[in-house]
Symmetry: C2
Subunit: 390 residues, 2 copies
């Protein structure tokens, strides 16, 4: 042992004690962050990332510095896929891709990869992002049809759609499974028959179990429930890799990415490592069944409170309520503004609704502790008492 | 002050002392990483990132958790742009974009954004990545011409090209300014007259000053000299934002990204924060003039050694040598393999040449300390002495 080693060894006990104290201190400092995305990450994940940031154990370097072709990094990305497959129970005939560009890039990639089958695709527009996905395909010149929308009711519900709504020769049907902005969620999986169902799950991925085999493609930006921003997950059934437009940008081709294990070029290595830590954290808690129970409990606290008072209004139809994004308004734009501002000062951050909608939105993803929801409800009670409506 | 605050305050001195000891310990543990990308990051940057990872000062949350629309994050991305503009002396009529997808995505984005001007573009192919860029534009069905290449000499030099080489009606001329795989670099800026010059600078960006005004577009993946993988820098002259293909994927449109301050969707927030720390680090050392001097000094050490021995062969023509990627071979594939393996055991990692070329490659980006280059040369001497050629 070198002198430094001995020194560190001798002082490790007191050092660990002080470190633990600092962690308590850090806990004190942290706020409850209700941001819709990027959003809260589990504290144990952040602490582990901080511990390993300068030197990843055994590697002599940071994960940020690793060649993506190195055995150390290949173990990390391989483990990320293995853990996600376990977590989501992904069937073997589905490829798992870790890409870049966010869900917004997939709005273009979906038709570029899939519409070649028949030249047509159908969309359900239940919120802003599914609307963007539809418009993107339209802009690119494809024959796409909006088969159902809840736009006329300000997206306060999810359209109920049966199999006969879809064009029989559609290459796919596109939906957004949870609408971050409006706080709605599908409570059923649309029956599309033989037509592949493509779902943007950015704001509900790994929040509860989902039967992957009912979907042709699932995609999701990482920055709500999986990792920091900068990684996009695509889960695609193998037989759907054959319809890509030959002239499309290679980087958007799922087949190319699948054949290269998401390493056709350098992947967003560190963000994938963070996702791996998040998958480990969920598995350590018991997996998606447990996560669902925790998320239902948190959401129930908030919805039960909303349903049993008359100061705040929850605009979403009860059967379409999201477990992840809970929207409410006071009915007075000035009070809404005051609410978000005062909540922020009380350590409850980012409760302002999306700029296109207004009101309030509490995003309570996997990493939001129950204590955060409880603190929010206490604040809501206090605010209602202190700010009577005119 | 709470009890915890007082406790932490009292013990801060001894804590800082122990922390400093631990940092020395960490230094001991770190290897010299010659990876071509992702590659070494400056140790002070990694340490600061680790310190701030769980709670960014004053924010109550990690940078990874910040809404990209929050004032705290807007300050970070704004500062990243300001620092980069200062560092590179970027003229006001250029937009700075922080995107995703790597340089490989730009291989498609360049023609999609620019070729609309005339429908034609010219390429110089001086290595693998400029070849890939050319092929991507070809695959997409565009009228592109390879006006010069050094392929016949295994890319050991950069073609010398004068203005008459280009088609007068080309929308742009594309080059790769530093060839990571072959270890070559332009020692001149091609004179393209009025035709915008587009340069992939992934492996030499911010390694030395460059006159941005000579280029129409400069783009670079972050993972060599700027940040971890997952961010792509695009610097584009404003008048070139008007030629985009109206049917192209919106996420690849520079104009859309420019109009939205790189936030049309969620940007790779944390990677941009890391880039900001790197820009700060370079400015704290004195900027790109100082960085150039340091890089020239490191490269000269290695090239001088290579020029004054006869065990290793440096295949690149001296006037085209890269400051960032230094390639050499023993002339014996078995010895090359042994070299990379034994160097790795000696704490000199990732010296194996690119899988398409073989031999050795030492990538000595900004963050590689001079001590790393010195250690490499010592190892090279020892290896040559211990492994005489048959």
């Amino acid at each position: 042992m070198s002198e430094i080693d001995i020194f560190v060894f001798l002082y490790m006990d007191i050092f660990n004690f002080l470190l633990a104290s600092l962690e308590v201190f850090i806990m004190e400092e942290r706020v409850f962050n209700f941001s819709a995305g990027p959003s809260m990450l589990p504290l144990p994940v952040l602490q582990r990332a901080a511990d390993e940031l300068v030197v990843y154990p055994g590697a002599g370097m940071s994960v940020m510095e690793m060649s993506h072709r190195s055995p150390a990094y290949e173990a990390i990305i391989g483990e990320a896929e293995t853990l996600l497959r376990k977590l989501m129970n992904i069937p073997e005939n589905y490829k798992v891709l870790f890409l870049q560009g966010g869900a917004s890039t997939q709005f273009a990639a979906v038709p570029l990869n899939l519409i070649g089958k028949t030249g047509k695709a159908d969309y359900i527009v239940s919120g802003q992002f599914s609307g963007k996905a539809f418009k993107e395909a339209q802009k690119m010149g494809y024959d796409v049809k909006c088969v159902a929308t809840s736009k006329e009711d300000n997206f306060t519900y999810i359209p109920e759609v049966t199999r006969d709504a879809f064009r029989p020769d559609a290459s796919y049907v596109h939906i957004c499974f949870n609408n971050t902005i409006y706080g709605t969620k599908y409570n059923y999986i649309p029956d599309t028959g033989d037509i592949p169902l493509v779902a943007d799950m950015s704001s509900c991925i790994i929040s509860e179990p989902v039967d992957v085999s009912k979907f042709g493609v699932i995609y999701a930006g990482a920055q709500k429930n999986m990792a920091p921003a900068g990684m996009t997950l695509v889960i695609v059934r193998e037989d759907l890799l054959e319809y890509a437009d030959p002239k499309m940008p290679t980087m958007l081709e799922w087949k190319t990415m699948a054949e290269n294990g998401s390493m056709y070029n350098t992947p967003p290595c560190y963000t994938i490592y963070m996702a791996k830590l998040v998958y480990e954290w969920i598995l350590s808690l018991g997996g998606l069944d447990v996560m669902k129970k925790m998320n239902e409990e948190k959401a129930a606290l908030l919805y039960d409170y909303l349903d049993n008072q008359d100061y705040y209004i929850a605009p979403v139809k009860p059967q379409c309520r999201s477990l992840m994004n809970v929207t409410f308004v006071t009915g007075d734009a000035e009070l809404d503004k005051k609410f978000a501002s005062e909540a922020g000062k009380a350590g409850l951050k980012n409760l302002k609704g999306h700029r296109s909608v207004g009101g309030m939105r509490a995003s309570i993803y996997n990493a939001m502790p129950k204590a955060g929801v409880e603190a929010l409800i206490e604040f809501m009670k206090k605010f209602a008492a202190e700010n009577p409506k005119a």
